[in-house]
């Protein structure tokens, strides 16, 4: 039995790049914090607590991005059978579960002062909750399958099915007449945003996307390093 060569060096390089991007992202996050606290105006109705919106919405967006990419990578994997796609999907899922967990904890923090309850079934929170469960299921299945090829195939099936579930969740929630009807995740809280709010929000989106890319890159590199170590 022979072993296919796998470079630990390549893996380390990828991890370094990922960590660099993540560090930049975290720096950007600090900037967003500052902007949110100092630069943006305080919203009339909701007060200071509204500011969590600058973290809340982009985190939800990142979770959705992470999951969509898991779905796309899964579909491509079943077509091309490239292990890199599977590695990427797994990395994206882990980052996604982290982002959805962030969103699910910041959501209630926001909801309590605004709406008086910790949890609401509004569209954004509900969708993120489902993404969280889908991620958890995806990762649980991966942990339960030993054979790498089988694990990749099974994960891909869950990824594709999950990606197609998301619109149905969205549709169900939309039909359901929620507490505060907000059918689209990206819809802002007020009909027209002052420019400072919009700018900060957009910067925050960029920062979270950067964080996503950084974390996924680092995680991907880590997975590659683990495989290289196991093969040696």
């Amino acid at each position: 039995m022979t072993v296919q060569p796998l470079s630990l060096e390549v893996a380390r390089r990828i991890i370094r790049r990922g960590l660099a991007l993540s560090a930049a992202g975290l720096l950007g996050l600090a900037v967003v914090y500052l902007l949110a606290l100092e630069y943006t105006p305080v919203e009339a109705r909701q007060g200071l607590a509204q500011k969590i919106f600058y973290l809340h919405v982009p985190a939800a967006w990142s979770a959705l991005l992470a999951f969509s990419l898991v779905g796309v990578a899964s579909a491509l994997y079943l077509w091309l059978h490239d292990a890199r796609l599977d590695r990427f999907a797994a990395a994206s899922a882990e980052v996604g579960v982290a982002f959805s967990a962030i969103m699910l904890t910041t959501g209630p923090i926001w909801a309590k002062p605004i709406w008086g309850t910790w949890w609401t079934w509004d569209a954004r929170l509900t969708l993120t909750l489902f993404l969280f469960f889908l991620f958890v299921g995806y990762l649980a299945l991966r942990a339960a399958v030993q054979d790498p090829a089988e694990r990749a195939r099974f994960s891909a099936v869950v990824g594709i099915l999950g990606m197609l579930l998301v619109p149905f969740i969205h549709l169900s929630v939309y039909l359901f007449r929620t507490l505060h009807p907000q059918p689209i995740v990206l819809k802002p809280t007020a009909p027209s945003l002052p420019p400072e709010m919009l700018r900060t929000l957009l910067i925050s989106f960029a920062v979270f996307t950067l964080l996503y890319v950084g974390f996924v890159t680092a995680r991907y590199g880590l997975a590659l390093a683990e495989e290289a170590r196991d093969a040696a």
Binding site: L78, F130, F133, L134, V136, G137, A140, L141, A144, V145, A149, E150, R153, F154, A156, V157, V158, I160, L161, G162, L164, L165, F168, I169, L171, S172, L175, F176
Partner: protein, 226 residues
């Protein structure tokens, strides 16, 4: 094309015959359903919450949980003596295998639902007679959807060490749209609302069925072919 249906029916018939011999999955699911209904009844305060308010949710949660008890059966029997390999080396398309398993699972879950319905009317003192066709219709529509997804997930779950745990973890998110739709329609049926109020939900259920039955049939090969 007829070949696929022929083989699917042969496989479904075989599954049904196997289950009727041992009856374990069927009986377990039925008993489970009855118990869940009983728990729902005792868990509510009769003065605070009327039976009719709780009824549709109780019914559908019962169906959802009971069907999960029955779903792993389909691929567990294929693991005995490596029988699945027997299907895979034969000139049988993977789509036919999936459809056959789906039909068998629908027969079982359908049976559980049909037997549970009279119990439900009894425990919750709800009259279904006037709306029976509607209830059966929405039951069929919703069940097809989550049983399709459940069939493919059970094919994967039985190959892990924790089949009974893995199936619910994977399947429950997928049960939510059909369940929401089914409960909404059932509630309106029991309240005698007009069809127009249910159309949106019925369309959702139908779309879900079409999308997921098709998708699951197509990706099944990825689950069983190495």
């Amino acid at each position: 094309m007829p070949e696929v249906i022929h083989l699917a029916l042969a496989i479904a018939a075989k599954d049904i015959r196997v289950e009727l011999r041992s009856r374990t999955a069927l009986v377990s699911a039925l008993v489970f359903a009855a118990l869940v209904l009983v728990i729902f009844n005792f868990a509510r305060d009769p003065t605070a919450l009327s039976a009719t308010d709780l009824a549709p949710s109780a019914l559908w949660v019962t169906f959802a949980l009971a069907s999960m008890v029955a779903l792993n059966r389909a691929f567990t029997i294929e693991r005995e003596n490596g029988a699945l390999d027997g299907l895979l080396v034969a000139p049988v398309s993977r789509e036919a295998i999936f459809v056959g398993k789906l039909l068998a699972n629908l027969a079982f879950v359908g049976t559980v639902e049909l037997v549970t319905l009279p119990l439900f009317t009894l425990f919750f003192n709800v009259s279904l007679w006037t709306v029976l066709p509607g209830v059966l219709g929405v039951a069929a529509l919703a069940t097809v959807g989550f049983v399709a997804v459940g069939t493919i997930f059970s094919a994967m779950a039985v190959r892990t060490r924790f089949a009974e745990l893995m199936l619910p973890v994977l399947l429950l998110p997928f049960m939510v749209p059909p369940l929401i739709g089914a409960v909404q329609v059932t509630t309106r049926l029991l309240a005698g609302r007009p069809l127009s109020e249910m159309l949106g939900w019925l369309r959702l259920l139908a779309l879900y069925d079409v999308v997921f039955v098709t998708l699951c049939t197509l990706v099944f090969s990825a689950v069983v072919d190495e």
